[in-house]
Every structure is written in structure tokens, then in C-alpha cells.
Symmetry: D2
């Protein structure tokens, strides 16, 4: 029975707590949150205690720390949890700064604790099945990976201002997915970004629409497109071309109902809330972490995966600002 | 080079004439039509002469007769053409009367000429491929055949009055298709019919909406549904279940364009004109006839196929009127 | 807080218990099962007590009885629970015998307790959305309802022997769905049945493949097809044609992954376990019952709905055996 | 009646000749080809005469010249035809050299004759409908255009050697399509190319797999991906995102047949021959040219369109070789 201390009782903390509680081989012993009511409410639903972070990190009845606090606290908390000898599952990203991640990971390594970064999309049943079948060689050698991610609607400008920008905040998932699917590291990144959905975003220096293409040393290509807005739902698609064919995975419509009238054939919009879209992925992610820690194996995506994705995000940000390709 | 005399220069006569002209191994030598202008116009497009029916049937430079005249003339013309020793391709049906067909076929047989009935749907590339794959055993032994046929809009009541009714006029195609797919003869037919699209149809004694189910001696089941109206196009679908799975074939949308907006995902209506939908089928039908006659083999669907479909239509008409099943 | 006594701790009892436990406005206070271990295990997961049926029916801390016992006990338990003044949610069917249902319902009515029958498919989000949109007039007046239900694999012959036959055991869901969608009562039923999947079923007098067509007084038609076997998953589809178009709802593939190779485009099989397929429906069903009882309204589907579906099943069974249509 | 002289009796010359012959308002009067038999055969099918190019350009009974000769002759023939006062429909590209096109177009302009370049894909009914609906504002302001083009199999290396490379030979269609859809000129191009399908291509200095992204001054983005090989057919897809949604258009499967078995749901491969895929587009292209010339309007795509696409191809070639973005 793996005992969790949860840091952060917000939206994603709650999702993970429920998975832990239903896992049958783990439980939540403590919850911390800057907002006392949030911590208390979440603790109640899973039979845990409320405590402050230092207490949780020092507690004997805590084996693993789930970090679901704001991004700017992640690296510090990872280091503290590592020094306390706890297994760590941290929401992405480790930090918006590559340098900060580079400083953080050796602390974890020295402590010898497992660290997993919450790139949830690797665990989506559709994407995971696609990845498995790629690995099985169903479409031969990988040649090109295409990733489409479009959010239903842009976040508030106040969020965007401190987000690190679209490439670090949103496309970070796609950089991880590209690496996951390519099985190789990109050596060149080119990014194009625009502000097309909301002029207020322009003042922040960020973009809301972007395309990135990358190539690996062996010539495999990845193409990523992002938009902060999609009227028809939360658009999340993968398409991978190999020497023998193509594998793709896509969206799920709200229902399977289709209407055919004189105006045409009409299907529902696709699922439009990320927690609904990735509900199975979040559960599989946490269960994968629990399994790895209980078995004593290193879970993936690792801290190194978090670092590599951040390097791609940083390169893309620079490319987008200058128009020039960035070599890694 | 097979030389055709075409009787009937209407819509379908024109389609077939073009196929013959483009076939490379047949040509049209004569055209007859009650409307002289129609005959002249069609003859001009294919370099044929206009003549009356008797002249055409007696002509030495006519090997085959294509009958595309009104239904009530078919049986008589088949008999005349057979006695004249011509190969015959006759539009469905031979006659609205089973008795008339039963009298007609021996005349053809005695004359020893090839007779093919124009059940065009057997030649649709989608349906023909499905049939081929059924025969190849891709889904094992056939268990159930489902046929959906919906016309875009009902014909004028004046047409319905002399059509023989929905089962003989429209569902006749589906009865032939059911036999084609089942590979066995139905032994029991039950039909349900309603007037739902146009009350004026009720006065004719006909129906505009119908469902028929049939079973063969070995227990294979066929289900047919028809409507005289479908707002979204000309709905033509097959679904066949076998012991190892299902094969289905369907409609073609007007274009492949799909729009995704806040209102959902929208595709075009399906093709809505029977000549567009079955353009490839009509061509394949005529080419199949030409091939068979040139090779000296018996073309199918045969006169017997025309008779069997008409018997099913007659049984369904009776069942629809009484509510009782009809055994064959 | 609605307090439930659950009779029957089998597969479906467990599903419903979890829904009740998670509902936030109901809880399970007692569980009974002929197998003591099953009752104990289920009771433990929801914090309930184990008791025998009589004790549960007499208990003050039980407001509602969930009947998930074998079919042949349903009618008796409904009567007992009604006399005890409990609200009742009973799995379909009330009884395999129309007469038994006709005797049972007045007992419930006299007791004045709510009774809901567990026709779960009405609550499937896809089917419920389709029904809602039909009611909203999106496709005009209803003309024809088509229902396809195919199980992945036949149950053991020992189950079939005491099932009441395909029409009462399996198609009963489709009869309810047909009524739900038609909004009118069928007045004539015709059924065709065969044994095609397993010859051992023949000896039981049952069929494994069936087609039923029904018509209402106003001429609306319903067509139902069933098979005990579908290699590609649990096939559950609806298609409703109205005066202005068509609404359909269908299956969900195991994943959204699609492979395109020289062999074609391949998608996954569809969900193949009924509890997975209808997980959302089961939850919505129980929540609908809880809502109705707490609000004091009569839940549907009602006992009358159970009776009407059973009458159709009985008519279809008779028709299938004789080949003749049955009028209601 | 527009009278055509056709230069080049190869595959595409034949397709266009048939369209002209069937147009009802144009006819072919002369055919020229370096291979006398080819010219004779084509001339026979449309009732034209065989002549050499100079004779055709000088002929009084020729109003328009269709240039379907090898690429390296296009610019010279355009100039000759222009000086002869003929309307010109020239297969893409005008030349592999931007400089050559820049020299050619003023000659046409000075002559005041209509010139249309054969970018056939603009006339595909699916793509044309998508473009029309974009223009009608169905998805608001255009934000991102994605174009996927994959050939079924690479051409011979001998062809690739003199093709000008993938960007000028194959992606040229997509550059034209991007401009057609964006409605603005790209100002920056970045290309990534690899040799992944056939190592022999590497020795030619060309690539067989490529991704290009471009941005316009207002921030609209276009993403193009190409491969010389696709096992599943000739992959031709467009997807355009706008402020209000997305429009896409895609491929057509060989038939509509779908099989569902224990192995999954399988559809046919897509059409795999470019002349089949674009048969309707080729016909619409020629008819558009005929209409424009008869009406005295300037047909599009124009020579300027040919020039702009070639500039993008040249920029992409340079970018692909250096890894650096190219500004226009």
C-alpha cells in the first residue's frame, strides 16, 4: 500500500486523489493546500489528514509525494521531496526554466528517488495504443509525426502573462509526445507563431496560434500545430507515417448521434474539457506511477523527459521570436 | 462488334446508348421512340438511324435489342425480339404481372436467345465488390441481409397509379438484391406498409413507406426497408451479417468536405439522383451484356431472376394489404 | 438521503451499488444475496450491512429496494417490497410471463409505491440524446425505427433453456426501445427466427437470430434485428427516420486508432462487454430513480412499460414459432 | 466553338482532348507530338489533324493552344503561342526556373493573350467547394491551412534527376493550393526534407519526404507535408482552420465497402492513381479555360500564379538545403 501526500488540492489534485483512492494499492494520507478549505474538502473525500508541506515531507506514513501546486513551486518541492526520500509524481512542467530543471534533476538523482513527470497524454488509451502499435512495427519505420492540439478557448490574459508562453505552457505536451513517438531527439526546431484569436495576447509578447517543425539526425520529421481556440471542441490528434503506412488517433464526439437532413449529415462537437478528454489518461498515469514505485522500477516520463521537452519549448520560443531555425 | 437497336430514347436509353458507343466493341445502329424528336436526337449523338420497332427487329444489322420503353410494353417486345432472334437487354421489370412473365419466358427459351434484365444495382461497384467478398467467404456463412432503399422524393401520383405499387416498382430492386446476396430463395414474406409522406398516395391504394422481412428454407433472413422520401439524398445501403462478421456498403456524399464549428461536424448530403448514383452500375451492366453475348454465354440477371423478384413483389403486395405472411 | 436495500450482489448489483454510493444523495444500508460471501463483499465496499431479504424489507432504515436477483424472483419480490411500502427499482424483466406481470402491477398500484423497471438502454447518453432530439422535432414526425442488437457471443445453452427465449430475454430491450422511440403502441407483430450460430440452441426450442417488424395504428413501423453473436463486438445501433430526415446513434470503437496500410484502413472492434458499453446508462438509470423518489414523482420506465414490452415479446415468440403475424 | 491545337499527346494531353471533345463548345483541330504514332492516335479519337508545332501555331483554325509537352519546353512554347496570338492553357509548371518565368510572362502580357496554368487541384470538386465555403465565411477568418500530399510510390530516379526536386515537381501543387486558400502571399518559408523511402534518391540531391511551413504578413500560417510514398493510396487532404471553425476535404476510398470482423473494421484503400483521383478536376479545369476564353475574361490560375508558386518552391528548396528560413 503506497501512501501519498498530495501537495495541491486543486482541479488536478482532486482527479489524482480519486485515482489513488480507487487504486486498491495506494491511499492518500495527507493533503496540503494554500487554501485551507480546499485541503480539508479533498482530505475528507479520501479519508486523509490535512497538514502543511513540511509536515507531510517529514511524515513517516508518506511514501510518495504528488506535486499539483502552481508551476513555479515544482522544482523546489521536487528537491525537498527528494531530500526527504520520497517518490515523486510531479505535474508538468518541472520549471519554465531549462536551467532550473538542470539544477533540480541532479538533486533527485543524488537522492536516488523515483521521479515521474505528469505528461498525461502518453497515457491516453488511444495514444498509448498507437504508440504500442508503432513500436510493434505495424507501419514500419517512423518517417513523420503530426500532432494537432487546439484548446477550446484561450485562458485569461492574466494566466498567459505568467505561463511562459504557448510553447512552454501548451505545446510542451506536444514536444513530449513528439519525442515519445519519434524515439529520437530533434536536432533542429523551427517555429512560426501569430496572434489571431485575441489581440490582448499580443501585448503579453505571446502567440495564440503556432506551427513547429523539427527534424532528427536520421531525418525523421515532426510537425506540431497549436491554437488557443477551436470552436468545435478540444482538438487532440496524432498522425504518424511510417514506411509501411499510417497510424492515427483522434477525437471523441460528445455522443455518437448523427442527424441527416436536407442540410447534410451532422455529428456532435468533440469533447471540449481537458479533464473529460483525458480522464482515462490521468488514471493510467497515476496507476503507472504506483506500479513503478511498488515494483522499484523507474517510472517514465522521467525528469530527463521533462528537461528535453522544456529544451524544445525554449528553442521553439526563440525561433518563433526571431523567425530563424534553432539547432540543438 | 455487337450492333444494337435501342427501343426507347428516354433518360435510361440515352445512358445506355452512350455506354454502347464508348464500349469499343458494340455500336448503336438504330433508335426507335414514340416521340420522333427524342429518337432523332439520340440517334444523332451515336451515329445511328431512326426507324420504327418492326423495322429494327427485322434489320440484318441488329444483333441485340435494348428495351427501354414503358414497362407495359416490355413483355411484348421481349417476345417479338426473341422471335426475331435478337439478344435482349430489357429494363426491369419484364412485367408487373407474374403470369405475363411466366408466359413470356418460354418464348425466349424456345427462341434460344440471350435475355438479361436490367437490375442495375447488382453492377454497382460497391455492391458488386461486397457480393464478391461474400462469395469469397470473408464473413463466413450468410445469416442476415439488410437492404435500405430510400428515394429522395416521391414520384407524381399519376406515376404511382400505374406503377404496380411500391413493392413492384421500387422494392423490386431490393428483392433482386436480396436474392443476389442470399444465394437462396425466400420461402416466406411478410410486409408492412404505410402512407406517411403524401396522403394523395393513399387514394391510389399504394404505400410510400414499407418494411419487408423474408426467410429462406435454411433460415437465412432478409430485411428490406423502403421509403419514397429521404431529405438527405438517395439512400442506398446494404449490410450483410455472416458467421464471421459483417460486410456493408453505402452511400457517397456529394463532396468529401466536412465543416466543424460550434454547431458540430457537418458533411454534405449524399448523392441524390439515381443516374448519378448508379452511373458506373449502368455502364457495367451494359458491358456485362455485351461481353456475354459476344462470348455466347448467358448473361445474368436472367429472365428467371426477373420472374423470381416479381413473385416476391407480388407476395409482399399481398402481405402488405392483408397483414398476413405469404408463403412461397 | 435515500437508503437502499440491495437484493442480489451479482454483477449488476455491484454496478448499481457503486452508483448509489457515489450519488451523494443515497446510500446502501443493506445487501442480501443467496451467496453469503457475495453479500459480504459487496456490503463491505459500500459500508452496508448484510441481512436476509425479509429483514431488509422490514427495516426502517430502508426507503428503496433494488431488485437484482434472478428473473424468476422479480415479481414476488416486487409484491413483497410494495407491501412493505418501499420504492422499487427492479431489473428487467418483471417476469417472463405476461400474466404474472398483470397480477403483480395492481399490487404495486394498491401500495402506492414507485416502481421503475431497469431498461438501462433508455439512459444511454447516445440513445437518450437521440430520443430528446426526436422529441424536439429535429427530424419531423417519426416514420420508421430500426434497432440493431447483436451480442458478442451466445450465452451457455443452460442459460438459454431458462431464459424465456431470445424475444423475452434479449429482444425485450429492443421492444422497450421501440416503444420509447415510436411513442405509440404496435398493433401487429411479425417475427422470423432461426438457429444459425449454435445447433445446440435448436434443441431448446429457441432461436439465436431474429428479425421482427411491427406497425402502430397510425402506420409507424419498427424493425428490430438480433443475433446472439457478432465477431466484431457488442453491436447496438438505432436509426430513426422522420418526415424531415434521420437520426442515428451507434457504437463506440475500443480506441480511436486507425491504421492505413496497403491492406486498407482498419479501425478497432467496438466495445464488446455490455457493462462497459452501458456503464453511463446504468449510472443514469439509478440516478434517475433516486431523483424521482426523492422528488416524489413516478419514475419511468414504469411497471406498465415492463408489461407492454413483455406483451410484444410474447407476441413475437408466438409469431416466430408459427410464421404468422400476431395482432395486439 | 473554340478550336484547340494540342501540343503533346501523352497521358494528360489525352485527358484534356476528351474533355474538349465532350465540351460542346470547343473542339480539337490539330495535335502535335514528337512521337508521330501518339499524335495520330489521339487525333483520330477526336477527329483532329496531325501537324507540327509551327504549323499549328500558324493555323487560322486554331484559337487556343494546349501545352502538354515536357516541362523544359513550356516557356518557349508559351512565348511562341503568345506571339501567334493564341489563348494558352499550359500544364504546370511554366518553368523550373523563376528567372525563366519572369522573362516569359511579359511576352504573354505584351501579346495580350489569355494564359492559364494547369494547377488542376484548384478544380477538384471537393477542394473547390471547400474554397468556396471559405470565401463565403463559413469558418470566419482564415488562420491556418494544412495540406497533405502523398504519392502512392516514388517515380524512377531518372525522373527525379531532371524533375527540379520534390519542391518544384511535387510540392508546387501545394504551394499553389496554399496561396489559393490563404488569399495572401507567404513572406517566410521554412522547409525540412529527408530521404527516407529510397536511398538512390539521396544521390540526386533531392528529398522524398518534406515538411514546409510558411507565414503571411498578417500572421496566417500554412503547413505542407509531402512524401513520395503512401502504401494506402494517393493521399490528398486539406484542412483549413478559421476563427469560427474548420473545413476539411479528403480522400475517396476505392469502394464504400466496410468489413467488420474479429480483427476490426476495415475499409478499402483510397484511390491511388492521380488521373482517377483528379478526373473531375481535369475536366473542370479545361472547361473553365474554355469559358474564360469564350467570354473574354482572364482565366485563373494565371501566369503570375505560376510564378508565385515557383518562387515558393525555390525558397523551400534553398531552405531545405540549408536548414535556414528564407524570407520573400
Amino acid at each position: 500500500m503506497l501512501r501519498f501526500g498530495i501537495l495541491g488540492a486543486g482541479r488536478i489534485g482532486k482527479v489524482h486523489a480519486a485515482t489513488i483512492a480507487n487504486s486498491g494499492r495506494a491511499r492518500v494520507t495527507y493533503v496540503a493546500d494554500a487554501i485551507a478549505e480546499a485541503a480539508t474538502a479533498l482530505a475528507a473525500t479520501v479519508g486523509a489528514n490535512v497538514a502543511d508541506i513540511d509536515t507531510i515531507l517529514a511524515a513517516n506514513d508518506v511514501d510518495a509525494i504528488l506535486i499539483a501546486t502552481p508551476t513555479d513551486t515544482h522544482a523546489d518541492l521536487i528537491e525537498q521531496a527528494a531530500r526527504a526520500g520520497k517518490a515523486i509524481l510531479c505535474e508538468k512542467p518541472v520549471s519554465l526554466s531549462v536551467e532550473r530543471i538542470e539544477a533540480c534533476l541532479p538533486v533527485v538523482e543524488k537522492a536516488g528517488v523515483p521521479l515521474m513527470i505528469g505528461f498525461n497524454r502518453r497515457f491516453d488509451p488511444n495514444f498509448a495504443a498507437l504508440r504500442q502499435r508503432l513500436g510493434d512495427g505495424e507501419v514500419g519505420d517512423i518517417e513523420m509525426v503530426t500532432i494537432i492540439s487546439r484548446d477550446p478557448a484561450p485562458p485569461p490574459v492574466s494566466y498567459i502573462e505568467r505561463s511562459g508562453g504557448l510553447y512552454r505552457d501548451m505545446m510542451i505536451h506536444d514536444f513530449d509526445m513528439a519525442r515519445f513517438l519519434l524515439g529520437e531527439e530533434p536536432v533542429l526546431v523551427h517555429a512560426l507563431g501569430s496572434v489571431l484569436t485575441d489581440k490582448a495576447i499580443k501585448a503579453t509578447g505571446d502567440v495564440d496560434t503556432a506551427a513547429v517543425q523539427m527534424i532528427t539526425a536520421s531525418g525523421k520529421i515532426a510537425v506540431i500545430t497549436n491554437s488557443r481556440r477551436a470552436s468545435y471542441g478540444y482538438d487532440q490528434r496524432l498522425e504518424v507515417h511510417g514506411s509501411k503506412g499510417m497510424l492515427r488517433a483522434g477525437n471523441v464526439h460528445m455522443t455518437t448521434v448523427e442527424a441527416a437532413t436536407a442540410g447534410g449529415f451532422k455529428a456532435d462537437v468533440i469533447q471540449n474539457f481537458f479533464i473529460d478528454r483525458y480522464v482515462a489518461a490521468y488514471a493510467a498515469e497515476v496507476n503507472t506511477f504506483i506500479d513503478a514505485v511498488l515494483k522499484g522500477t523507474q517510472p517514465t516520463p522521467s525528469g530527463e523527459d521533462g528537461l528535453m521537452a522544456q529544451r524544445l519549448a525554449e528553442a521553439a520560443t526563440k525561433s518563433s521570436q526571431t523567425g530563424e531555425a534553432v539547432r540543438l
